[in-house]
């Protein structure tokens, strides 16, 4: 199996040998479409520093300001600060007084439960879609794809009625079960499972292994890279949920952290401090998860987008 991933030394040597006599590059300018990063000389250097600095300031600046402001005294409602001043933990202390840790715990329960369910459901459905041939296969696949056109937002009103009918209003389960099946994740997993060579499965079947056995000990271990992709995507997707918790929560004990931010906007003692500290806590898990699994995230981004 390792032979498939890393070609034997001789093959690699041959490839390297092919690469050497290739025509020498005309210039570094042809490495990228614009050639901006290869612009030589002091003018190029200065423009690069200016442009890169500007981009980081515009896109990361507001989030960095959240980080430094949450450790500063921010009584003035007009200001976030990029440079921490007057270090304090008061914002977090007040935020904890206002039960931010409880909201954070709810968020972790929802994202943990939702993600476990979502991965299980996706892997199980993908096994049938990718490895089995049965009547109506295409129809079921299209049905699952079509759910991507039915987001919680558009269905909000009837969804809230259905949630009430099955008794999920006012319970964290109501935020977990509906996100348990996600078309995108099933699609990514199915595409990946189709690539697993059929010989492995046939060999196991001849040895008398049933579907469950093949699924568990052959297909699933080979899917580890795709599990990373659907894991990180599922995490950010569930963390970003707003409409569903808004429909389900009946009082603040069931609020997830993103949902609770609205109610923390101002505080008589530390002003904006509470909402800034709480926003930081709501920001960090998704950012850290992304940073930890950046490679898988990028793979999912391109595969999902290319397939439409």
């Amino acid at each position: 199996m390792t032979a498939v991933e890393t070609p034997p030394a001789t093959v690699r040597d041959k490839r390297a040998a092919v690469r050497v006599p290739r025509r020498r590059r005309v210039s570094a300018r042809t490495e990228t479409a614009l050639g901006f990063s290869a612009w030589r000389g002091p003018a190029g250097m200065v423009s690069r520093i200016f442009v890169y600095g500007l981009l980081v300031f515009v896109f990361a600046g507001p989030l960095l300001a959240l980080l430094s402001s949450s450790f500063s005294h921010v009584t003035d409602p007009s200001k976030l600060t990029l440079i921490p001043t007057d270090f304090t933990l008061d914002n977090f202390r007040r935020a904890i007084d206002r039960d931010v840790l409880g909201y954070l715990l709810n968020s972790f329960i929802v994202v943990g439960g939702g993600l476990l369910l979502q991965v299980f459901v996706s892997v199980s459905a993908s096994y049938a879609l990718a490895r089995k041939k049965f009547p109506f296969l295409r129809l079921i696949f299209l049905l699952i794809l079509s759910t991507m056109m039915l987001p919680e937002e558009i269905l909000a009103i009837p969804l809230s009625i259905v949630l009430a009918d099955v008794n999920l209003i006012g319970s964290l389960l109501g935020m977990i079960i509906p996100v348990g099946a996600w078309g995108f994740s099933i699609l990514v997993m199915t595409e990946f499972m189709k690539e697993i060579p059929a010989e492995l499965e046939e060999a196991a079947r001849i040895d008398g292994a049933g579907d469950l056995r093949i699924f568990w000990s052959i297909v699933l271990p080979l899917c580890r890279p795709a599990l990373g992709v659907i894991g990180i995507f599922g995490f950010t997707m569930i963390w970003d949920q707003y409409m569903l918790p808004l429909l389900v929560a009946t009082d603040s004990h069931q609020f997830t952290l993103p949902l609770a931010l609205r109610g923390l906007r101002s505080d008589e003692e530390v002003g904006l401090g509470v909402v800034i500290a709480a926003s930081l806590l709501a920001l960090l898990p998704s950012v850290l998860a992304f940073l930890a699994m950046q490679r898988q995230f990028m793979r999912g981004l391109t595969s999902g987008a290319v397939k439409g």
């Binding site: 590059r25 005309v26 300018r29 042809t30 490495e31 990228t32 479409a33 901006f36 990063s37 442009v51 890169y52 981009l55 980081v56 990361a60 507001p62 989030l63 300001a65 007009s78 200001k79 299980f120 459901v121 199980s124 459905a125 049938a128 089995k132 009547p135 296969l137 056109m149 039915l150 558009i154 269905l155 909000a156 009103i157 009837p158 969804l159 009625i161 259905v162 079960i177 509906p178 348990g180 099946a181 579907d211 963390w239 970003d240 707003y242 409409m243 429909l247 993103p258 931010l261 609205r262 906007r265 800034i276 926003s279 950012v287 992304f290 995230f297 990028m298 987008a305 290319v306 439409g308």
Partner: protein
């Protein structure tokens, strides 16, 4: 093994599976699909069905529902507030889509490359996309503080602009919400464009360089044509997402001031959950759903036709 001996055996699940392999196969497939199908049926298709029936009814908890035909639809279509919401939603969807794509393309062109510092800058620029929308909305509410010493107004002041009222004024509120959408959407588009750029054949650049083509001609004749499929995908995805815009509007302006940022979704939410006019809300949802489906199918059809032209 003869058929006769097989029939003499007691029938167990395993022997049944051997005797009816196709039925067994279908049954296994359905068992593996069951969790997904049950959840989708309950939380996607059942609500869609409910939306359809509710949109034709006057919904009342106590007196029972009454069939009213297309009355809800005519009310939605003729209602002035819905008209404004539809205009706002279209403006917001088109503006945020185009803005994100243009800015995302610019970002991709500027930040393309193998160097480690470029990778770091790309990661920093990408962060808005992974932040939860609720966080983004709270941060921008603070940044948009409408006095001269508010954060964005201070920056505008450095280049001699502002101060602006941003979300507090009817004239600028929609643009302000749109800007936040672009801020969060452009880095996403950047990453997709970067994947597209990586696939462009480098020998074409070398050929253009050898022919003495200037950079912008190379972009126009080599790079952009190669990115065309990426454009199509991004426009579809963004328009579909744009039509259902809710969270950022709900949190930043809740449709105000004076309806200037009211979108179809915020209005449906108000009519449905706050005023309990469920029939009207369902009719609005159905129209939004129809627009989403029509748009998706149209882009898919255009894509299929184009690929046919290429092969023909």
């Amino acid at each position: 093994m003869s058929a006769r001996r097989a029939t003499n055996r007691p029938i167990t699940l395993r022997t049944a599976a051997h005797r009816f392999p196709r039925a067994a196969n279908l049954l296994t497939a359905l068992l593996f699909l069951a969790p997904a199908l049950i959840i989708f049926a309950l939380f996607k298709f059942l609500p869609m069905g409910r939306a359809m029936t509710m949109s034709l009814q006057e919904v009342n908890y106590y007196l029972g529902n009454r069939w009213v035909g297309l009355q809800n639809y005519t009310e939605v279509v003729t209602d002035e507030r819905f008209g404004q919401a539809i205009r706002n939603t279209l403006l917001l969807a088109v503006g945020a889509t185009l803005g994100s794509i243009l800015l995302g393309l610019l970002l991709a062109l500027l930040l393309e490359g193998q160097a480690r510092h470029l990778w770091l800058i790309r990661t920093a620029v990408f962060l808005p996309t992974v932040a939860a929308m609720a966080v983004v909305a709270e941060v921008w509410r603070i940044l948009y503080y409408p006095t001269a010493d508010g954060a964005v107004n201070s920056v505008l002041g450095w280049i001699g602009l502002g101060p602006s009222q941003f979300t507090n004024s009817e004239d600028t509120s929609l643009l302000s919400v749109m800007a936040v959408g672009i801020w969060r959407g452009a880095p996403y588009d950047m990453m997709i464009f970067l994947a597209g750029l990586a696939g462009v054949d480098r020998t074409l650049y070398e050929a253009a360089e050898a022919d003495g083509a200037r950079t912008w001609r190379r972009l126009w004749h080599v790079t952009f044509p190669a990115l065309r499929p990426v454009f199509v995908i991004l426009v579809t995805l963004a328009c579909i997402r744009g039509l259902r815009v809710f969270t950022e509007v709900y949190l930043m302006t809740n449709g105000g001031p004076n309806g200037s940022t009211e979108t179809v979704m915020t209005l449906i939410f108000k009519r449905g959950l706050e005023q309990h006019e469920l029939g009207i809300a369902a009719a609005g949802s159905m129209i939004l759903l129809a627009a989403t489906v029509a748009l998706t199918l149209a882009v898919q059809a255009a894509r299929a036709r184009r690929s046919k032209e290429v092969t023909a």
